[in-house]
Symmetry: C2
Subunit: 409 residues, 2 copies
């Protein structure tokens, strides 16, 4: 029997305890021994909980208990979570987490401590919720040189975009609906401004390309600027609007950014709706491999956390082979040099657009810029980089929206 | 340095040698040591090959060479492949394979020999080509009780169905096209009659549910009966036709079968076209997780084989934790008891269909059974099991085609 402590009894923490109980037999079989939760740390009291005797507010009790071999950090944030993770690893305990912020900011340092102490720091649940992505990347794509990783990495924004598309709601109404359903937090900033997606693409990039990619170096654009018109125009052109985190290897540098994109109706990603997430890994032998599933939620996230706990039980003294070196800001390439076709919504005339942009594809749901649609048109440009795009737009074409079209350029 | 022998220098074998060379540095880094191909066994001669000195036609040389720790069996079939696999494992060498037929028929026996000898028998490439599926199922979904697995598991048939849909070709023309492009073999029986899909769903079922599911016990229907009308009718109803292997756990039994299905245009699977494969795993915590990628091809399959080689290098003396017990025929439940909505194409009248089937959804591309469409109509039934369906059809409604609609029933 192995004993674990769960730090934080919120959505994920209670899910972890629940999955450990619900699938006890299967988990014992897979782990090779029973896994028992000895402590649950939370500043709140849960007097009604059937796990009441397990609650503690003393992290020291957990750190000093030699029976505790694995600490599950599902507090979130970077304050207590960072402190307790460091202390747990220093005390020779493996740590399993779903905390993408912590991994994106301090992953390199924390893995170094884990390596030094001969324990594990595992974070499968930090990207893609239930989707197995970190382990497949590290263990299954090993024969490949990874060229690119991208995906729909945030369930809240994907829910909002899907709702806008399906119900015709505007952004604010869709956000309110998402909050009502528990898919968006009361302060939704980290999700809708793309920071959460940014943290996740940083973690994936760091693993795939070997150096720590820091969130503050990654250009990040959220979904607040997307209007219902953009969603409708995209549909008329045969696309859906999705927020993507993208990262590719360019020589010994990394090009990473977060931005809304148009993805073709014929792509697998266009079927990834609501709170689903999807990650595409491009290997030089495997080609594109896509992983989809529930990107968030109590049990899906717990599924990934518990898989890591089982892995840590099986390899309690072994160092796992995830790791990357410290990164630098100059390792990142500015995405403005990356070419793509662009979706543009503008109040300029068709003639003007054709004069400046040459051959473009206009969305057919407009009436050529007449009063009925507010004088707006939308179109898809040829393949150009962002600098060229901005140069063309500077010639008196106001882009009310501009998004990249996902494609093989 | 670790030395391996590659048995069979066909598409996959030459791909394996090619990937090992092309990604040598990355592979050495991931494996912890260099991997060198010492022998290539093939009955054919390759006098022009740059690997000429490695070729041998003597398996005994390989078996008796203590330097060979890993044997890569990519011969295919169950004759020499079975014999050499047994001998290699008995000689204490790990075996890595892409041979789904061998694993589906003899997996249990071969894994038992491997376990006895303390070596590995690994077969990630046997299902889904490049898609990491076996390792995620065994290592990442460990916190879940798996309820169901299904997917598009054969690239040839998926290519043919996609071609019929996109170009309007009939089955024979699409098959010829697939053969021209190298996506179908000159004898395409195993693919188009569903046997290949059957082998793969057997392997996935055996892993997920713990007992060997034998291909001869699994009802298997291929794609030869699918007409261009079915494809068009499905489209009019908002679906695509896909050949699925399906398997679910029902109590301590398994319900597994292979048959063409209609999948909704809104599903992730509908975006899985051409030679792409996709596997859906339903866990009781994770929910549905979907894995997509190239289901066949030289480098994609080699990507999975080489990942297994790397794994075997890392765990050269350890037994891997894949395994299942011997299965029995009575472990399988007849799919006729499984409910679903059905797509039916018939020459019966609408009135007659409504009289027998009650409330149905008719495809709108028909003219109500008039001469223009040969007097045919097509419709989707309510949710009923196959026995009820056959009972209804026996009342003088001839089903020209009948396929299940994939859905959550």
């Amino acid at each position: 029997m192995i004993k674990v402590a769960v730090l934080g009894y919120g959505v994920v923490g209670s899910g972890v305890v629940s999955v450990l109980l619900r699938n006890k037999d299967r988990i014992r079989q897979n782990a090779g021994q029973e896994i028992e939760v000895k402590y649950i740390l939370d500043i709140k009291k849960f007097p009604e909980s059937s796990h009441k005797p397990l609650f503690t507010d003393s992290f020291d009790t957990i750190r000093n208990d030699p029976e505790i071999k694995i600490v599950v950090e599902v507090i979130g944030g970077t304050k207590a979570a960072l402190d307790y993770t460091r202390q747990s690893l220093e005390a020779g305990k493996s740590v399993v987490t779903s905390n993408k912020e912590l991994v994106a900011l301090y992953g390199n340092e924390l893995m170094n401590i884990a390596a030094e102490k001969g324990v594990n720091y595992l974070f499968e649940a930090s990207v893609g919720g239930a989707i197995p992505i970190i382990r497949p990347l590290v263990q299954c794509m090993t024969a490949n040189i990874i060229g690119e990783i991208y995906g729909i990495l945030n369930g809240t924004t994907n829910y909002i975009l899907t709702d806008m598309e399906k119900s015709g709601s505007d952004f604010n109404a869709a956000l309110t609906e998402a909050q009502k359903k528990g898919y968006a937090e009361s302060d939704p900033t980290a999700d809708i401004e793309g920071h959460d997606t940014c943290r996740k693409i940083c973690i994936l990039s760091s693993i795939a390309f070997g150096s720590h990619v820091h969130p503050e170096h990654v250009q990040t654009e959220g979904i607040k600027g997307i209007t219902i018109k953009d969603i409708q125009n995209a549909k008329a052109l045969g696309y859906k609007v999705k927020l993507l985190g993208r990262s590719r290897s360019v020589g010994d540098k990394v090009l990473a950014f977060v931005a809304p994109h148009l993805v073709s109706d014929h792509s697998v990603l266009s079927g990834v709706d609501d709170v689903m997430n999807a990650v595409v890994i491009r290997g030089n032998a495997a080609g594109d491999v896509v992983f989809c599933g529930a990107g968030a939620g109590k049990l899906p996230t717990a599924s990934a956390v518990v898989a890591d706990i089982i892995d840590a039980v099986r390899h309690v003294h072994a160092r796992r082979w995830i790791g990357w070196s410290a990164g630098t800001a100059d390792m990142l390439i500015d995405p403005e040099f990356m070419e793509s076709a662009w979706y543009i919504r503008t109040d300029a005339t068709r003639d003007k657009v054709m004069r400046e942009f040459g051959s473009v594809i206009f969305a057919e749901n407009h009436n050529g810029g007449n009063a009925n649609d507010g004088g707006e048109i939308s179109f898809i440009s040829t393949v150009i980089n962002k600098r060229t795009l901005q140069d063309l737009l500077s010639r008196d074409i106001t882009a009310l929206s501009k998004f990249r079209i996902l494609g093989d350029y």
